[in-house]
């Protein structure tokens, strides 16, 4: 930690990990309701738990991004954050808003647009927090050194905050509602968040591998160019069946096929940088999460996205468990794992100590990643059967669901592994104060 104000990130990461815990526990409960549907059905119905699961995820990922920005912007700009106080006020607003949203969901007060169910006052709170954030980091950025990493990060964060405006636009016409809803949902996760992801990954590669900045930054511009060139018109893959014109079937199919490219590029980038750098950075856990994030993002967002993105395929798979399979692995690889990479890298530095507890952290990586992969496979099988029975044969929804019980049981099992991994990660970050496995002697060349 080179600048005192970077310490703000610590509070953001703590809040993010708290919500991460809530998110995965909510997910586990949902998985159990699939297995045993009468569970809590009168007290805490499925729709309420699902709002908590998805909203907690989105907010903690954003908190992670904001924390990462407060950590890396001072270091890149070579100066303290404009105002530490504003950063804490922003965090307080977000935490109060999130707890307020969860509380009001529990008593049945919520909106009804998926992922944007927050009561209006919470939406305004998020807007205010976003404005504070943009002012705070922009003033830091403008006063200091400008690098490609901060250029791209700032562009991603500005655009994602601006797109939040669409959360307030809810036309009475359902099809218009859906079309503008995607301006937040798609243009966040398949465009602007990718810029944030690329910038954070670039920063981690710079620190962990020691490769020349010039090389990293050129890669970054190429990656984000492919992300936006494919991702903006790739929105079309959500416009096949919601009342939008038929030409989106071709635009969506073609451009969203290219959405695989930035994820392949980010994976290649990470591995090439590690190969070129050959720096023996002591934080192996952060390196594992960085490589793991870009790899799982390629499979979850890239491969599993392509699996059902062509309109001829999507006509049958749309709205089945195939979508759930893709959504889970994509979010985990691209954004969960990337945030955990940043936490793993920054937390030891923020607490001014060596990166202890790496073995537990790396074990949590394999537990979570293995669990998420297994969950994705079971949901993909469930979705394949569902697509065939429901969309091709024409069997009714619940008759089909009754045939999928085994997959939902296995999915619950994989959820247990993910929750254990998440708790282990949080434990290794916050509690353990020494290395559990002693590292071997250094500098013994292999044969």
């Amino acid at each position: 930690m080179k600048y005192q104000s970077q310490r703000v990130a610590y509070a953001y990461f703590l809040a993010a990990m708290g919500l991460f815990g809530i998110q995965v526990l909510g997910g586990l409960l949902l998985g159990w309701i699939y297995v045993s549907p009468n569970t809590l059905s009168e007290v805490l119905p499925f729709n309420i738990v699902r709002m908590i699961h998805t909203n907690a995820l989105i907010v903690w990922l954003l908190l992670g991004f904001f924390g990462a920005a407060y950590y890396l912007v001072p270091e890149e700009s070579e100066r303290e954050i404009f105002s530490v106080k504003l950063a804490y006020i922003q965090l307080a607003i977000l935490v109060v808003g999130t707890l307020g949203a969860v509380g009001s969901y529990l008593v049945g007060i919520h909106g009804g647009r998926e992922f944007l169910e927050q009561p209006l006052w919470v939406k305004f709170g998020i807007l205010v927090a976003a404005v504070i954030f943009l002012v705070n980091v922009s003033l830091t950025f403008l006063a200091g050194r400008k690098t490609a990493i901060t250029n791209i990060l700032m562009m991603g964060l500005w655009l994602l905050c601006l797109l939040w405006v669409f959360a307030f636009i809810n036309p009475d016409n359902l099809s218009l509602d859906k079309m503008y809803w995607w301006m937040v949902v798609h243009l966040w996760v398949e465009a602007t968040w990718e810029l944030v992801m690329a910038a954070i990954l670039g920063f981690l590669m710079l620190k962990l591998t020691g490769v020349d900045r010039e090389v990293i930054e050129k890669w970054l511009y190429v990656i984000v160019a492919t992300a936006l060139f494919s991702g903006i018109l790739g929105t079309g893959h959500h416009f096949y069946w919601i009342g939008t014109p038929g030409y989106w079937q071709w635009i969506g199919s073609i451009f969203s096929t290219f959405e695989v490219v930035p994820f392949f590029a980010m994976m290649s980038f990470a591995f090439v940088m590690v190969w070129k750098g050959r720096k023996n950075h002591p934080n192996k856990a952060a390196l594992l999460w960085s490589l793991g994030s870009s790899t799982v993002a390629f499979f979850g967002a890239g491969v599993w996205g392509f699996l059902h993105t062509l309109h001829g395929v999507n006509f049958y798979t749309h709205g089945t468990q195939i979508t759930a399979a893709h959504g889970h692995l994509a979010f985990y690889g691209a954004y969960v794992a990337l945030n955990l990479a940043m936490f793993s890298y920054a937390m030891p530095l923020l607490r001014n100590r060596a990166p202890y507890n790496q073995v537990l952290n790396m074990a949590s990586f394999w537990l979570m990643t293995g669990g998420m992969a297994f969950m994705t496979f079971t949901l993909t099988f469930a979705g394949t059967i569902q697509t065939h029975m429901q969309r091709i044969v024409g069997d009714y929804y619940m008759d089909v669901q009754d045939q999928l019980g085994l997959f939902y049981l296995m999915r619950f099992g994989s959820g247990v592994a993910v929750v254990l991994g998440a708790l282990l990660f949080i434990y290794s970050m916050l509690v353990v104060r020494r290395e559990v496995v002693k590292p071997g002697p250094v500098a013994v060349p292999g044969e």
Binding site: F46, L174, L176, K178, L233, G243, Y397
Partner: protein
């Protein structure tokens, strides 16, 4: 490649190309907006009752179990074509009666079945919800879903 593609060239391609795609996207979105209003959803008027029905749909967060035009949670059946499935798409009274009867019977309490919660909905709101679902059903969704099963 390293001489041809310098960092500043890569940056300029990124900025220029992004602006180009944003412009194309905004133009297509504007055209799609008109298409939705004038064609895809023009089969039934967007009445006050349909609007109220949409608010009822949102207030109870139906989307977090059901799908509507394939979007939502995947825990309960598709409702974008439920009125067709019930044979009530052209009969507002029948649409209301089936919906009302179904909603009042929830939760079923049957062991091992997914449970739909009980919702406090007035008659006016229930009629509006039925109209909203009929309105959604008449949307030109490019023939999706493939069959009535949804």
């Amino acid at each position: 490649m390293s001489e041809l593609l310098t960092k500043s060239r890569a940056r300029n391609v990124f900025y220029g190309g992004s602006i180009f795609f944003v412009v194309v996207f905004v133009a297509l979105t504007a055209q799609s907006h008109r298409h939705i209003v004038d064609k895809a959803t023009a089969g039934m008027p967007l009445t006050e009752e349909v609007r109220l029905g949409k608010h009822v749909w949102e207030r109870h967060s139906c989307i977090n179990c059901h799908t509507l035009h394939g979007e939502g949670a995947y825990f309960a059946p598709e409702v974008g074509n439920v009125m067709t499935r019930w044979g009530a798409q052209d009969d507002p009274e029948l649409a209301y009666e089936i919906l009302d009867g179904w909603m009042k019977a929830q939760p079923s309490g049957i062991e091992g079945r997914r449970q739909m919660p009980h919702f406090e909905i007035t008659e006016e709101e229930m009629r509006a919800l039925a109209e909203f679902l009929r309105w959604a059903d008449q949307t030109d969704t490019q023939n999706w879903p493939p069959n009535d099963a949804g």
